[in-house]
């Protein structure tokens, strides 16, 4: 949790090198470099359309990159390197990589026809081949951790948005990933429900989980982030501790953005 401004001595948990991505003619990522140290919380800020969600989605290969590389724990995500070429991996291998990277969506994307418990146990049972009783026991522990121990048998539509997002976080945690990615986890929530989701993320940060959080919650960034990254037009404009980026932004575009959202 302590802000480590100095570059970490250990190998980075996540390393992006020159990541580029276009949708048709629109260049969404224009060469992004980013290192995230183990146990670090990185918050990505930026105006909409700046490429921050796309960046997050390249990290678990939901989005293929057009150039550059993404690696987690020193292993390329989605590709295998041979000489100077990157060969795309088979789906099975990509799926295995994804089980080590938790992803939480803006719109939760819980499975509506499954109960809360089934939502959480589905991946451990089918992707990691855990026995169902063990998976259910772990799921109930996770539900207790996100404060929903009594809603295991409910269907997602019977829950509030904040509760659904907490279930989605428990679902991502069920694979015991070494890295958690949050894509605007509170943007689809009513204002009074934002706090309960941020509380859960705050607890995870305190427990030393490596996380990258795309968000618009500046206050949350200031409080929880070890590193704040500001993106604009597909590039990282500024990167530093919350105090550096939020209070003494070096770049004009960062200042302009912060003046609008603060």
């Amino acid at each position: 949790m302590s802000a480590t401004a100095a570059p970490p001595a250990t190998a980075p948990k996540v390393a992006l090198r020159g990541v580029r991505k276009s949708f048709g003619d629109v260049e969404v990522l224009r060469g992004v470099d980013l290192d995230v140290a183990p146990g670090e919380v990185t918050v990505v800020l930026g105006p909409s359309g700046s490429g921050k969600s796309t960046l997050l989605r390249t990290i678990n290969h939901l989005e293929k990159v057009d150039g550059g590389s993404v690696s987690v724990d020193g292993v390329l995500v989605g590709y295998r390197r041979s000489g100077n070429k990157l060969y795309e991996l088979r789906e099975r291998e990509i799926l295995r990589q994804r089980t080590r990277i938790g992803f939480v969506f803006q719109n939760f994307h819980l499975f509506p026809h499954l109960t809360v418990l089934e939502n959480i146990t589905e991946a451990p049972v089918s992707a990691l081949r855990r026995p169902r009783p063990a998976a259910e026991e772990a799921a109930r522990r996770l539900l207790a951790r996100v404060g929903l121990a009594d809603r295991a048998e409910a269907y997602p539509r019977q829950l509030s948005g904040g509760q659904q997002q907490r279930v989605a976080i428990a679902r991502a945690l069920a694979l015991e990933p070494g890295l958690l990615l949050f894509d605007e986890p509170t943007s689809a929530l009513d204002p009074e429900l934002v706090g309960e989701v941020l509380d859960v993320i705050r607890d995870l940060a305190a427990a030393g989980t490596t996380m990258i959080v795309v968000t618009h919650e500046i206050g949350f960034a200031r409080e929880v982030a070890d590193t704040v990254v500001f993106m604009d037009e597909g590039r990282i404009v500024e990167r530093g501790t919350p105090a550096e980026v939020l209070d003494r932004p070096a770049h004009e575009r960062t200042r302009a953005f912060l003046s609008k959202v603060l």
Binding site: Q97, R98, H113, A123
Partner: protein, 295 residues
């Protein structure tokens, strides 16, 4: 029935004191035309029912004599078998075709598209006659046809040929329509569901079976039930191949006895009864797949 029960206007004028809005009675919109339509419909139905009972040409005694004879029951059973095999095989192939059309592989997409194009274009009756004659051809040549183990349960060798041809024709025809229904259902599932499943590392087949199909079922079911009912009645087309299904059987009987109308009624009532049963099943299956949804 409150067609003319509007309260007289003077009556409200007698109660002006309670004008603070707390003691007012809510009167729903009156719908006089609804009652006119009900009366007109009842008149027509009663007339029709009266005709059924009093017109001797319906020959209800003949109807009653043939309704549950063994020949008719046997024919109903054949009709049900044709429907069952056509549905099961048709939808099994249809699901495969649907996912081929949705696949990332241009080859699989092209094959599925070609199949659906061909089998939707050829009239079922033409296809049936083709398979029927093909079966004869193979019999003459004494080549074993791998029609699958399910088709060998029938009594006579001749019937196996005709039944297999009929089932094959119905199933292949049905598969083309089933494929499009399933594809439509899968497309109706929110893309975020697939993304969430992919991000959790859930294997592809499991993703389809556990996440996509149960949700797709909600929009597949009403259309699929339509197709099954339509196939159920459509089996009557197989009568051109002299297979003893319901419609063929009543034709045989009225060909012999000349009692056309009562025997057509025998077939009609059976079709009505079984379609009703299917609708009941549909209701419960749809309710099962509505789990976790609000409507």
């Amino acid at each position: 029935m409150a067609l003319t029960s509007d309260p007289p206007v003077e009556k409200t004028a007698h109660h002006p004191p309670s004008d603070d809005g707390t003691a007012l009675t809510v009167v729903p919109v009156r719908r006089p035309w609804r009652w006119v339509a009900v009366v007109a419909t009842v008149v027509v139905l009663v007339q029709f029912g009266h005709g059924l009972v009093t017109n001797p040409a319906w020959e209800w005694d003949v109807f009653a004599r043939y309704f549950a004879t063994e020949a008719v029951l046997q024919a109903v059973w054949v009709t049900l078998q044709l429907t069952l095999y056509g549905t099961v095989l048709g939808f099994a192939l249809g699901v495969v075709l649907a996912f081929m059309r949705l696949s990332a592989s241009p080859f699989l997409r092209a094959v599925a598209f070609g199949y659906i194009w061909a089998f939707r274009s050829i009239p079922l009756i033409v296809q049936l006659l083709f398979w029927f004659n093909l079966a004869y051809l193979y019999e003459e040549l004494s080549i074993g046809i791998p029609f699958g183990p399910g088709f060998h349960a029938f009594e006579t060798v001749g019937l196996v040929g005709a039944m297999s041809a009929a089932v094959l024709g119905l199933a292949l025809h049905q598969a083309a329509y089933a494929a499009e229904i399933v594809r439509g259902g899968v497309l109706a599932v929110d893309g975020g569901q697939l993304e969430a499943a992919a991000s959790l590392g859930i294997p592809r087949l499991r993703r389809l079976r556990r996440i996509v199909l149960p949700q797709a079922m909600r929009s597949i079911l009403p259309n699929a039930a339509n197709e099954i009912v339509s196939l159920f009645k459509g089996t009557s087309i197989v009568s051109v191949m002299a297979i003893g299904e319901l419609f063929y059987q009543v034709q045989v009987v009225y060909g012999r006895t000349g009692r056309v109308v009562p025997l057509l009624m025998v077939a009609t009532v059976w079709y009505l009864l079984l379609t009703t049963a299917l609708s009941v099943v549909q209701h419960y299956v749809e309710r099962h797949y509505a789990k976790g949804s609000t409507r």
